[in-house]
């Protein structure tokens, strides 16, 4: 038998060594291969910060608010496929992180969040900066721990990384009381740690995959409906998806979270589906006879009215999380497993069977799809006077598409326009808050992405309202010389709120006007970065070029049409086939009384 390769910690000779809790934290992070953490110091984490002080192998990025640490860690994680790590203090440090943790839970982003806690003997006494962190974060994490014994600490940290990254990924909190950080104990390395019971199933059962292939081969109107699970499963999954699409000839659509897994330049690409998805994607979903859901979760933004969701299709659903199966939509062939593992088997079986769909039926199906494509649902009336937000995103795309570009967004109209008009050819290039819809996500996420990819062009396509929620992170960008570009589509409204008020509430724009906005150019200068502004379509390209060429953080104030609405749109409470298209804007299906109840 060949000699076993020594593990990292054996080489370093740290396993079994006596050390204090704070150093144990650092050692465990090093052994997990962590090179970057996002954090903010405070009383209850001072020993860990003290241990960090001597270390040069772990880079600590000081954010300006703990929510920023979480989103930066998410951006880092989503653009690299590695877990994001954050370190915050007790009490407000932990509560400020809650939005970011919830965001990561909803979008299945692997995070490990270390929180300081008051000393064990003070827990429960309402001590200064004490809060019940494990209680507060229980519903917004995949799992969490309170460390009560120094000898559990290293095991818990290694377990946390395992839990965060295996199965459906998610955030894990480790709450470490201050006295534990000072106590001395024995360090255990990661190779000796295995979670006692948590073993998510990654390989799909053979029988349902075979059944799925049978269904797919017999399909006349098939569609691949892909989601964030493809991205989370790693680059191999995206390759296999392309292979599956090529072998089957099926059309492909994706959720917001899955953009980039399949190249937007491909002829089989239908664009994003859902509330602001393309007409062709939604109509194909509505009319299909076999739907293959690959790592998506039948979210309400995607399905529209459930009673009318794809009424005539047999549904295949690949998901690593069994609780996603039959949660919102009944499926005929559930396959539990990791996307890459399942697709590998699916492609193999498809090829081995020499499976073919009915060519005539497929031709007919593609003809219908081309008919829907012909409606040009993403079109808009451009203007030479005022910058249309869609035009701004299109120009941004054209001027950056040949570069090594990563896009983050905030939440709202600009996010949907970015998803519609910025096209992705590769996974991990698109960072957005899907499930939770967190305004203020994009700027700190861009910080995290730029840290992970120092030479890339990282752009936050933002709205002026969202970006103000975490604007303070510009200081972080300046401090670490991160040349992130904040491209604000400034319409002086919380645009999506305004759009819904127009459609649902008779144009009574209650508190959705962005009153008293700062001058973003001056604000950029105040932060020590570069401010640019474009007011007219004529100057847009030159200004974008200037933004790209500046090797510093930039806030770009793109002054756009204030009244533009985001179309196409499935009005709430309606089905996929009842979209409002840009050319039927005034005569489209209205919103039902029932629909008004929905968000």
């Amino acid at each position: 038998m060949a000699a076993q390769t020594p593990t990292r910690e054996q080489r370093a000779g740290t396993a079994g060594r006596q050390m204090d809790g704070a150093h144990m934290v650092i050692q465990a992070l090093l052994d997990q291969g962590v090179d970057t953490i996002f954090g903010y110091p405070g009383g209850a984490v001072l020993p860990i910060y003290d241990a960090l002080f001597e270390h040069d192998k772990i880079r600590h990025i000081l954010v300006r608010h703990e929510q920023g640490a979480a989103h930066a860690a998410e951006g880092y994680a989503r653009s690299t496929g590695k877990p994001g790590v954050m370190l915050v203090t007790s009490g407000p440090g932990a509560t400020n992180a809650v939005t970011g943790l919830t965001d990561a839970l909803m979008d299945s982003i692997p995070l490990v969040c270390l929180t300081g806690q008051v000393a064990t003997h003070l827990i429960g006494s309402d001590a200064f900066q004490e809060c019940d962190t494990v209680g507060i974060t229980r519903p917004c994490t995949k799992h969490n721990y309170l460390v009560k014994d120094i000898n559990d600490l290293s095991r818990i940290i290694h377990e946390a990384f395992y839990v965060a990254t295996n199965g459906r990924p998610g955030p894990v909190v480790i709450d470490i009381p201050k006295d534990i950080q000072f106590q001395s104990g024995v360090y255990t390395g990661p190779s000796q740690i295995r979670h006692r019971t948590y073993r998510p199933k990654v390989k799909g059962d053979y029988a349902p995959i075979q059944e799925a292939v049978e269904l797919m081969a017999g399909a006349e109107r098939p569609i691949l409906y892909t989601g964030g699970g493809v991205i989370n499963s790693g680059p191999v999954a995206s390759q296999l998806l392309r292979e599956l699409a090529r072998s089957t000839g099926f059309p492909v659509t994706s959720t917001l979270m899955g953009l980039g897994a399949f190249p937007a330049a491909d002829r089989q690409w239908l664009g994003m589906l859902g509330m602001h998805g393309t007409y062709e994607a939604n109509m194909a979903m509505h009319e299909c006879d076999v739907m293959v859901n690959i790592g998506a979760r039948f979210d309400d933004r995607v399905t529209g009215k459930l009673e009318e969701f794809s009424p005539r299709s047999k549904k295949i659903h690949i998901d690593i999380d069994p609780s996603s199966i039959n949660k919102n939509v009944h499926v005929d062939v559930p396959i539990i497993g990791d996307v890459a593992h399942v697709l590998e088997d699916m492609v193999r079986i498809w090829k081995a069977r020499n499976a073919r769909t009915d060519a005539a039926a497929m031709k007919q199906w593609w003809d219908r799809i081309d008919g829907w494509r012909g409606r040009k649902s993403l079109s808009f009336r451009n203007s030479s006077e005022v910058i249309k937000p869609q035009h701004a995103v299109q120009r941004l795309y054209e001027l950056t598409r040949h570069r090594n570009t990563y896009i983050t967004t905030e939440v709202g109209q600009h996010q949907m326009w970015a998803a519609q008009h910025y096209h992705f050819q590769e996974p991990n290039r698109w960072m957005t808050s899907g499930g939770l819809g967190t305004m203020g996500y994009g700027l700190p996420a861009a910080v995290g992405v730029q840290i992970a990819h120092p030479d890339a062009l990282v752009i936050d396509i933002a709205g002026e309202a969202s970006v103000l929620m975490t604007m303070q992170e510009m200081s972080t960008a300046v401090q670490y010389r991160l040349p992130i570009k904040i491209f604000i589509l400034n319409n002086e409204y919380m645009g999506m709120v305004r759009q819904w008020q127009q459609l649902l509430h008779g144009g009574r724009y209650s508190h959705s006007y962005s009153e008293a906005l700062p001058d973003f150019v001056k604000l950029a200068e105040a932060y020590g970065c570069v401010g640019l502004r474009a007011r007219t379509p004529d100057e847009l390209d030159a200004k974008i070029e200037e933004m790209i060429s500046v090797d510093r953080p930039v806030i770009f104030d793109c002054v756009v049409d204030k009244q533009e609405n985001c179309y196409p749109m499935i009005p709430s409470g309606r089905g996929h086939h009842e979209m409002i298209l840009p050319d039927t804007e005034d005569g489209g299906p209205g919103i039902t009384e029932e629909g008004k109840m929905l968000v």
Binding site: V134, G135, R138, P139, K142, H143, N144, L146, K148, V163, R168, H195, R196, T197, Y198, L306, E307, D321, P322, S323, I325, N326, K327, N328, V329, H330
Partner: protein, 173 residues
């Protein structure tokens, strides 16, 4: 709630859940039920294997078949949960509950309480000249019946354990 879930008939199920006995595990299970709007009719928990730190939670819940499937999947998704079994649907199972029932009274009523307790095979675990504490166990419906019968005879207090259950036959969970 999706339409295919909400229109189906409501069923009562007993779930057995094996969990790692670590801090907060019960809070996780209970929080899951409240966060997702599921019902708990009864819930019992105790460690069943000290060496492996395993506890067993027995939950009686109600819902449509699809809701029960969701509840099972959501429970199984919790990191410290190692196994979830629907004892009502997947097995024949024995269900038992225990109650301590305090009855206060003298004379005829006291005699009648004692006579009834005999029929229900209840044991007297505490007595004074004017009171009894009965220990009665069995299916939950039997306990309901006993408690109803005690009500006019001077029922003072009831403490019930909630249902514990185990599958019939030689196989373990």
């Amino acid at each position: 709630m999706p339409p295919f879930i909400k229109d189906a008939p409501i069923e009562r199920r007993t779930l057995s859940v094996l969990v790692d006995n670590e801090a907060g595990v019960l809070a996780r299970v209970i929080a899951l039920f409240s966060a997702r709007g599921y019902n708990i009719e009864s819930l019992t928990v105790a460690e069943v294997d000290r060496a492996s730190h395993t506890s067993r939670i027995t939950i009686v819940t109600t819902g449509t078949a699809m809701m029960i499937e969701q509840i099972k999947a959501q429970l199984d998704r919790l990191v410290p949960v190692s196994k979830v079994v629907d004892l009502t649907a997947e097995h024949e199972a024995v269900e038992r509950e225990m109650a301590l029932v305090k009855v206060q009274g003298t004379g005829e009523k006291r005699v009648e309480a004692m006579r009834l307790s005999d029929i229900f095979r209840a044991r007297i675990v505490d007595t004074t000249h004017s009171s009894f504490v009965f220990e009665v166990s069995g299916a939950p419906a039997k306990l309901d019946k006993f408690i109803e019968l005690m009500r006019p005879l001077g029922l003072v207090d009831v403490s019930r354990t909630g249902v514990v259950a185990i599958s019939r036959g030689p196989e373990g969970m």
